[in-house]
């Protein structure tokens, strides 16, 4: 079977799960498509994913009340072994890339990490992924009885539901005791679309000038056009914005339909996180800024007058 570890957030199935279903279809691998839902009180998640797969295995367990890499890896490896899965799909989120590596070791399986495309090649699987700060596209291949694949968010289109919803089954899990004690958690809540899922992202750089101006200009423009908000590291380091908004090598990777970079110079480390966006838009007063070299559309000018004009023109 093909096993997909469902990802969800805030009680809702994440788009990444439907992208994994699409990746599974693209892989040409055979066998029943099975979703594994791990957590506590996850009946609604199981219902949400059922229409997309042949069956759903539900590991509803108090010990899984919050994500823990050791427990997630143990549960996934157990179900993959019991169900004789030959391919295991995990989301390319931070959590997914963390526990998928542990699953690969547990099952002595190669890991195709953060893939953007997949193709079956006999018993092997061939994938593309970005390397060298996303400057290189690598084609990699692995051939083994079991393969683990993590799927880059946004790389595959979300799958469509099937004609009939998959049956649901409860599973019993043998879980290790967690050795990490979580003593506090800060959820950086945002009323906006999550960065990884946003069709349009507006990112502010140091050129925006201050946290107040950031809220006034970047957040307002983003809200007007239903976009997610991003920030450069310079802005995050200065404490203007939370780290969860950082785009780049040490932040998030995004590939929206349109990426609007305002007062951003376009350093390689930043571009490694947004360079694959379908359309890149830059607003910068310096016509020589590197960001213009990768931009489809650019406005050369002072963001303090350009962005208010954009806000005005997009006012709802």
């Amino acid at each position: 079977m093909i096993l997909i570890v469902a990802e969800y957030s805030g009680g809702k199935l994440a788009k990444s799960t439907l992208e994994m279903v699409a990746a599974a279809h693209a892989s040409g691998r055979e066998g029943p498509l099975t979703a594994l839902v791990l957590g506590q009180g996850v009946a609604s998640i199981a219902d949400e994913v059922a229409p997309y797969v042949d069956q759903v295995l539900v590991g509803d367990d108090a010990r899984l009340a919050s994500y823990n890499p050791e427990l997630w890896a143990a549960a996934t490896a157990q179900i993959a072994s019991e169900g004789e899965a030959h391919t295991v799909f995990v989301a390319g989120s931070r959590a997914g890339r963390e526990f998928s590596a542990r699953v690969a070791v547990k099952l002595d399986a190669p890991l195709l990490e953060d893939v953007i495309s997949l193709e079956g090649a006999g018993s092997a699987l061939r994938a593309q992924r970005y390397t060298y700060l996303a400057r290189v596209t690598e084609t990699v291949e692995a051939d083994a009885p079991v393969l683990i694949v993590s799927v880059k968010p946004g790389a595959f289109p979300a799958a469509e539901p099937q004609a009939t919803a998959g049956e649901q089954y409860d599973v019993d899990l043998e879980l290790p005791a967690s050795r990490v004690r979580i003593t506090g958690k800060t959820v950086e809540k945002s009323s906006r679309v999550p960065l990884a899922e946003a069709d349009v992202v507006v990112t502010g750089g140091r050129g925006v000038g201050s946290p107040e101006r950031f809220a006034e200009l970047i957040e307002t423009l983003a809200d007007n056009i239903g976009a997610g908000v991003g920030a450069t590291r310079a802005v995050v380091d200065a404490g203007w914005r939370p780290y969860s908004e950082q785009v780049g090598q040490t932040g998030k990777t995004v590939a929206p339909q349109a990426y609007i970079a305002v007062g951003v110079s376009g350093a390689v480390q930043h571009m490694s996180g947004m360079g694959k966006s379908k359309y890149i838009v830059a607003v910068n007063k310096d016509p020589e800024a590197p960001i213009f070299k990768v931009a489809d559309y650019g406005i050369v000018g002072d963001l303090n007058v350009i962005v208010p004009a954009l806000i005005e023109a997009t006012r709802r």
Partner: protein, 253 residues
């Protein structure tokens, strides 16, 4: 206690990447210690300076030139280094096999490793190493302290961040914000030349090549339209941009 700090050698962020016969060719590129790993070296030194009775061992697996990155770690203050010479490519999960064996031989209590490496763009090395050792791991850590045998810290997760406590042994994935890595001073660079840099042979670790094979590498430069609009008349520029986005790019705004 013993702290292993893993060091990869990667092209500098500004280095031009060349492709030769379908593979990345680093000949002539400026190579540096991976920025993410550098936070790990610095943190190991700070734990030692903070009072932990620790030996800091820098470990690198890679071709001969990896020595340079290890010398940098020694010049920063690591006590000694181990270099496992390996010319062929290893994938991170396979490499974790080598690291886990070194950790066992050395009797390490803590492994520090960059949360993501700038050559593979992979996040697998830390968690895979931890799994092989049967240790817990915390990735994307940006705050760390040691109290007795307990590490306390904070790390980033998908939805925000968490404060954690974990008893040694453990693997910690490092990242920006954890510290500001120091520059090696000239006297320390001189001193580093005399420090032990042990050479090791990959064959010893029972690893026979990568299980994920790289078939081809390409640099696809997507042609961008580079349509520049003069911003002198902001209203005009704004409406022109929105028009292009809506009608030419067909973005739903």
């Amino acid at each position: 206690m013993k702290i292993l700090t893993l060091v990869r050698q990667v092209p500098d962020g500004e280095a031009r990447i060349r492709i030769q016969n379908g593979a990345v060719d680093l000949e002539g590129a400026t190579l540096v210690i991976d920025g993410m790993d550098e936070y790990g070296v610095e943190e190991a030194l700070r734990l030692r300076e903070g009072g932990a009775d620790a030996e800091v061992v820098a470990v690198g697996v890679g071709p001969k030139r990896t020595e340079d990155a290890l010398r940098t770690a020694l010049a920063m203050g690591a006590d000694r280094a181990i270099h496992v010479e390996a010319d062929g490519a290893l994938d991170p999960v396979t490499l974790s096999k080598v690291i886990a064996q070194i950790a066992q031989e050395e009797g390490a209590d803590l492994i520090l490793v960059g949360s993501q490496q700038a050559d593979w763009d992979s996040q697998a090395l830390g968690p895979a190493t931890a799994e092989r050792l049967g240790w817990p791991q915390l990735t994307w850590t940006n705050q760390l302290s040691l109290e007795g045998q307990t590490l306390k810290g904070r790390h980033d997760v998908d939805e925000g961040n968490e404060s954690f406590e974990v008893d040694l042994p453990a693997v910690i994935g490092t990242q920006q914000g954890l510290n500001e890595p120091r520059y090696p001073t000239l006297p320390n660079i001189m001193k580093a030349k005399k420090k032990e840099l042990r050479k090791d042979d990959l064959g010893k670790y029972g690893v026979s090549g990568a299980r994920v094979r790289t078939v081809e590498s390409t640099i696809q430069v997507r042609q961008r339209m580079n349509k520049l609009i003069d911003g002198k008349d902001p209203q005009q520029a704004a409406s022109e941009l929105l028009n292009l986005l809506r009608n030419e790019a067909k973005v739903n705004l």
